[in-house]
């Protein structure tokens, strides 16, 4: 413990820190920046989709003639923005925020650990992520621009793309290593550093979510690394892993050895990227469960079935990947298999969602900002999940594949789904990290416009998609005869997207303002919560806990009958009971 008294120099304390809380906050701020940046890319694209070939007012000329001559976006630049929007949002925004920031900051606190199991690996993990981000950002300035073959980097398009794609692969290698180190750290921390008395069935649901997520990251990311190595070989060493013989590009037969398989890339990519979908959603479910349990003042309904469901989800997520590939001609037998597994995997998600809904029944709900975000998560994720069922049926997918319907579906899962959950988490744990609360009024000003705008962005996409508009079009479907009746919805979506941008201003202001001017917390447990992280000072010092934590009961013992208070923390040995009525009478 002698180290804790020793003052570290600034750069060791805040920049190259090995403290999980500092690293978590570093992750959080970097990831929020990337979320904003990735959102900025789509706001540019939404102009082109709503008003094709019209010059972008005010800022259009800033991008230069190679990207937007006269303020009109070139198709090549549109493709760059599209590919980088997906990549940045998934790999640099949501996953680092959900796993890197919340996993790092909250998991050791909730399991009663002094730090992560491997603090220096933890620091390495953050700086690899940072390097990956810099490489991705830097690739915009390359000749030919950033990667432009979609976030899925399908071969052979990605193999013949400009040098930006090589940077994309190198950036991804950094991000893959980063998440590998981070998730190994989280798993070992949960297994090895659990406090005394903290059995697995007493773990907060958030910890379970992080545990399953980390296993997915450890096991699903390496095949993408393998695929990335192969694509790098294809691009740099001239191999043909993904290049079929006799490939013709722009009327010219390519001079390649051939013999490769384009489907191989898709299989390896989706073997990662389907579990990745669950990496995006499971931590969100974990955060929402924490926030809901805390604000309904009663235990979560069906905690055990939620735990079994999330573990089952983790397993199943490895055997559904090819439902992204129904139209590649894999054959009906394989389609039928992946269709069946896809229907099965929807069951545990529904169990978790149902358990959370039923939990609300009879609770005395506190409608604060974090609870509003968590409550909005439930129907938004519900819409996202249910609209996914037609996509999982190979026959319906023939019509819906690659249309705006797909965009609407998965954005409902990750945007008003996961991102709302992440906001809930930020409002929830902000007092623990800073010792101050975020402003409630600004929080509501953030929530309500965000909720309205989110739905006006993505609901029209279902209609546009059902009308058959492809998601890949630079003009948003303007060339489609049959889609003319729905194209005005593109304008609705775009204005809602810009409105959503405005709705984030109260949050950004609140986030920084509250650090210095926010209301100070009156105790270390301002939300009257039950889990271990509220047994630390706010913010927790080096080593987190003042005394060694011991756990005495399950995670969500709210409103224990007969107890004096409506919450009985895990770390308190005795539940203080009210005097029994019989004794009262006697007195």
């Amino acid at each position: 413990m002698s180290e804790s008294h020793h003052e570290l120099p600034f750069w060791r304390k805040y920049i190259f820190s090995v403290d999980h809380k500092v690293i978590g906050i570093q992750y959080g701020i970097t990831a929020l920046f990337f979320l904003l940046f990735g959102f900025g890319l789509i706001m540019l694209m939404r102009w082109q989709l709503a008003y094709p070939e019209q010059p972008l007012p005010l800022i259009g000329h800033l991008f230069g003639d190679s990207r937007m001559p006269g303020g009109v976006m070139l198709p090549e630049f549109y493709n760059e923005l599209g590919a980088m929007h997906g990549t940045i949002m998934v790999f640099l925004g949501i996953v680092p925020l959900a796993v890197g920031a919340f996993g790092n900051f909250v998991v050791p606190l909730q399991v009663g650990a002094p730090d992560m199991a491997f603090p220096r690996l933890n620091m390495t993990s953050y700086w690899l992520y940072f390097a990956g981000g810099i490489i991705m950002l830097g690739s915009f300035f390359l000749p030919g621009g950033a990667a432009s073959s979609g976030w899925t980097a399908y071969a052979p398009l990605a193999v013949i793309a400009s040098v930006g794609q090589t940077f994309w692969i190198i950036g991804m290698v950094c991000l893959i290593q980063s998440s590998l180190l981070g998730s190994i750290n989280i798993i070992v921390t949960i297994f090895q550093l659990r406090a005394k008395g903290l059995t697995f069935m007493r773990l907060p649901f958030f910890v379970w979510a992080q545990l399953v997520t980390s296993f997915l990251l450890v096991l699903a990311f390496p095949p993408l690394l393998a695929a990335g190595v192969m694509q790098l070989m294809d691009r740099v060493a001239g191999t043909s892993f993904f290049m079929p013989s006799g490939l013709v590009v722009s009327g010219q037969q390519l001079d390649i050895s051939g013999g490769g398989s384009v489907l191989l890339w898709q299989h390896l990519f989706w073997f990662l990227a389907h579990p990745e979908v669950y990496v995006l959603i499971l931590p969100a479910m974990g955060i929402v469960s924490e926030v809901i349990a805390n604000n309904i003042r009663k235990p979560l309904w069906g905690y055990k079935s939620m735990v079994y469901s999330i573990v089952f989800l983790g397993f199943m997520s490895f055997v559904v990947w090819a439902h992204h590939m129904f139209l590649t001609g894999m054959g009906t037998v394989i389609n039928a298999f992946f269709q069946a597994t896809t229907m099965i995997i929807s069951i545990p998600s529904i169990i978790i969602l149902t358990a959370l809904f039923i939990s609300l029944w009879g609770g005395s709900i506190r409608f604060n900002t974090r609870m509003l975000f968590a409550l909005a998560f439930l129907p938004m994720f519900g819409i996202g999940g249910l609209t996914g069922l037609p996509l999982g049926l190979s026959t319906a997918d023939i019509h819906l594949h690659d249309t705006y319907y797909v965009i609407g579906h998965f954005h409902y899962v990750v945007a008003p789904g996961t991102i709302f959950a992440l906001f809930a988490g930020i409002y929830h744990w902000y007092p623990k990290a800073t010792g101050r609360k975020m402003n409630e009024l600004l929080g509501q000003l953030h929530f309500w416009p965000s909720l309205v705008c989110m739905n006006f962005i993505f609901m029209p996409m279902f209609i546009v998609g059902l009308a058959g508009v492809s998601r890949r079009l630079y003009d948003g479907g303007a060339g489609y005869e049959h889609a003319q009746d729905v194209l005005h919805l593109n304008i609705t979506s775009s204005w809602a997207a810009w409105g959503l941008g405005l709705a984030q201003l109260p949050f950004i202001f609140n986030f920084f303002w509250s650090m210095f001017k926010g209301k100070k917390v009156e105790s270390d447990n301002p939300w009257e919560a039950t889990t271990l992280e509220w047994n630390t000072p706010s913010p927790p010092g080096h080593g987190n806990f003042v005394t060694e934590p011991v756990v005495y009961r399950a995670a969500y013992e709210y409103s224990v009958p007969g107890a004096k208070r409506d919450f009985s923390p895990q770390y308190e040995p005795e539940v203080e009971m009210e005097e029994a009525p019989a004794q009262k009478e006697a007195a």
């Binding site: 180290e3 590998l180 070992v188 090895q192 393998a226 695929a227 192969m230 043909s240 490769g260 080593g543």
Partner: protein, 198 residues
């Protein structure tokens, strides 16, 4: 950092110290990495109209020697760990040195094999077979180099000095790097028949 529990002694309910748990997870991810490449191999081979026999293209005797060299390195790796358990530092230096020597011999032989192919103008772009051959063996060689650097660190005084202050922790480190080394050895045991013999 002393305050993090189970860095040296095992946690009773899992039976592992932290680093050993971590390395097993890392190896699980490595299985998936090489598994991805192997499944790429299977898909390319089954999808190809004609696939060459490795024994016609590669030098099988050299590959066999390399297999033996790598297996020997695994044996001496175990002996190095045993030597620490016996608190026999000279034996540790000797056996770990032998492991390092084996890794050097392996890399020299691999360089000769690569060099011969390059001098005949056979590069990864030659065919699907050579593409996967160079990728798999190249990635494996990178693992050997990485492992050898870590082993070298523990062999030199800068790494060994931990033995004087924390002997148990040092023994654990050798055990963990040994697990990694055996894994890299195991990958080669799959690579050799798949690429050279089948």
């Amino acid at each position: 950092m002393e305050m993090i529990p189970y860095t040296v002694e095992a946690r009773p309910d899992t039976g592992l110290y932290n680093a050993k748990f971590g390395i097993w997870l890392f190896l699980a991810s490595e299985v998936m990495l090489f598994g991805g490449l192997f499944s790429g191999y299977v898909l390319l081979r089954t999808g190809s109209p004609a696939w060459p026999h490795g024994s016609d293209l590669l030098n099988v005797p050299l590959g066999t020697v390399n297999t033996l060299v790598l297996i020997s390195s695994s044996v001496s790796m175990v002996l190095a760990w045993v030597a620490l358990k016996e608190k026999n530092i000279p034996k540790f230096k000797l056996t770990l040195g032998l492991t390092l020597l084996c890794s050097l011999i392996f890399m020299i032989i691999k360089a000769i094999e690569y060099g011969t192919k390059f001098s005949h103008g056979i590069f990864p772009k030659e065919s699907a077979y050579f593409a996967i051959y160079y990728t798999l063996t190249g990635l494996h060689a990178l693992h050997i180099v990485g492992g050898a650097i870590v082993l070298m660190y523990f062999w030199l005084p800068v790494g060994t000095k931990m033995w004087k202050t924390q002997p148990q922790r040092f023994t654990n480190r050798i055990e963990v790097v040994g697990l990694y080394w055996h894994f890299v050895d195991l990958v080669w045991i799959f690579l050799f028949p798949v690429l050279y013999l089948l």
